[in-house]
């Protein structure tokens, strides 16, 4: 009887020891200086560029849920990609690239849902004066105009609005500098025409 009962506890002990060792290794890694340093770096970058991330997500999302999902995906890709970021390009360029690419790859057949959503869906916003109403209209109008553009054009106009130099826009989008200039000119005309025709 004892002969058949012995191997099972031994196997269980072995498995338990292996699990304990794995848990110790994970906890050691979590407390390692490299990990702490990487976390600090990530937190600093995310805090400094939080609005860049949110703005990109806001321009690509079609609902509040979508916005949250895209933001989380962006943060994960930034966290994973930070190690391989070599600093050859500007940090803001790299963040734009990661966030825009993440939002583009997150899109999944949402054409039947509204193309853009209002700030009210994002959260409770305090309004101070009557002037805010017209400004708010402009914000919503600009958002709907950007949301009606194709993927790459959205990225170009966003970066132009953020006053990024043409070199940086060209680097992120993969277009030539002259092509970026032409595209920006055309996009502005197209947006102005959309406003005139109320074709949004």
């Amino acid at each position: 009887m004892n002969v058949t009962a012995t191997p099972l506890p031994f196997a269980l002990q072995l498995i338990r020891r292996m699990i304990c060792n794995a848990a110790l290794m994970i906890s050691d890694y979590c407390r390692s200086p490299e990990r702490v340093c990487a976390e600090q770096r990530f937190n600093t970058i995310v805090n400094e560029h939080a609005r860049l991330i949110s703005k990109v997500c806001y321009c690509y999302a079609v609902s509040r849920q979508d916005f949250d999902d895209m933001r989380q995906d962006c943060l994960i890709n930034i966290w994973r990609g930070l190690e391989s970021f070599d600093g050859r390009s500007r940090l803001s360029s790299w963040l734009y690239r990661v966030c825009i690419n993440t939002c583009i790859t997150s899109w999944r057949g949402k054409s039947r849902r509204p193309q853009c959503f209002s700030f009210d869906e994002l959260g409770e916003m305090p309004t101070d004066s009557s002037d805010d109403d017209s400004r708010s209209d402009n914000v919503e109008l600009l958002h709907s105009l950007i949301s009606s553009l194709p993927y790459v054009d959205r990225a170009i106009i966003m970066m132009w609005l953020d006053e990024c130099p043409y070199d940086e826009i060209a680097e992120v989008t993969g277009l030539s500098k002259s092509n970026v200039a032409v595209k920006i000119h055309r996009l502005k005309n197209r947006m102005a025409e959309s406003i005139r025709n109320n074709n949004i």
Binding site: S54, V98, N101, I104, S106, R135, V139, Y151, D162, G174
Partner: protein, 180 residues
């Protein structure tokens, strides 16, 4: 809207997002898989499932409900169907996995992303007629038994109800992709 008005509206967006950031900050969920990784995993899962089904399809040959010739034809039809579906899914998995959001340019990612989504929809368009043919052959192989035909008719009604809704969504997606 002039350039200055656009930039002002954009700065307003900036300040409003800042307020939202302070009110509704969500922490990073480190255990989460991104939408792209999820999609790649789904393709891989389906390609593995199709491979298993391709290998299992010859079991039709052992079935006693078919007459001699039809058991081979049905087995062959389903094997081909699942093999094609598996190859398509694996090809999509490889393609989607090759997208690197950290190093590729936006144009490249957008081009690849649209390309694979379009292929996904085109593959569906190929697989649906193949499935209809395979099921039709199975129905014929059963010798139009009344019970079987009644069951298949029920299945077809439910399938058409679900399928028509999916078809509209599918066409919408395809139309949207052509605009992007």
């Amino acid at each position: 809207m002039t350039d200055n008005e656009m930039r002002r509206a954009w700065n307003d967006t900036d300040s409003r997002l800042k307020e939202i950031e302070t009110h509704n900050r969500t922490p990073l969920d480190s255990g989460r898989r991104t939408a792209l990784a999820n999609l790649a995993q789904r393709y891989l899962k389906f390609s593995r499932l199709s491979l298993i089904m391709t290998l299992c399809s010859p079991c039709y040959m052992l079935s006693s409900v078919f007459t001699d010739d039809w058991r081979y034809i049905a087995a062959l039809c389903f094997s081909i169907y699942f093999a094609v579906a598996g190859v398509m899914d694996y090809w999509l998995y490889r393609g989607v996995s090759s997208i690197d959001v950290g190093s590729m340019t936006v144009s490249e990612v957008a081009r690849k992303s649209i390309f694979y989504r379009r292929r996904h929809l085109q593959f569906i368009a190929v697989l649906i007629p193949m499935a209809v043919i395979a099921i039709g052959i199975t129905a014929y192989a059963f010798g139009f038994d009344r019970g079987i035909i009644a069951c298949m008719a029920c299945g077809a009604i439910v399938g058409m109800a679900i399928g028509s809704r999916q078809l509209i969504a599918f066409m919408d997606d395809y139309r949207t992709l052509r605009r992007l």
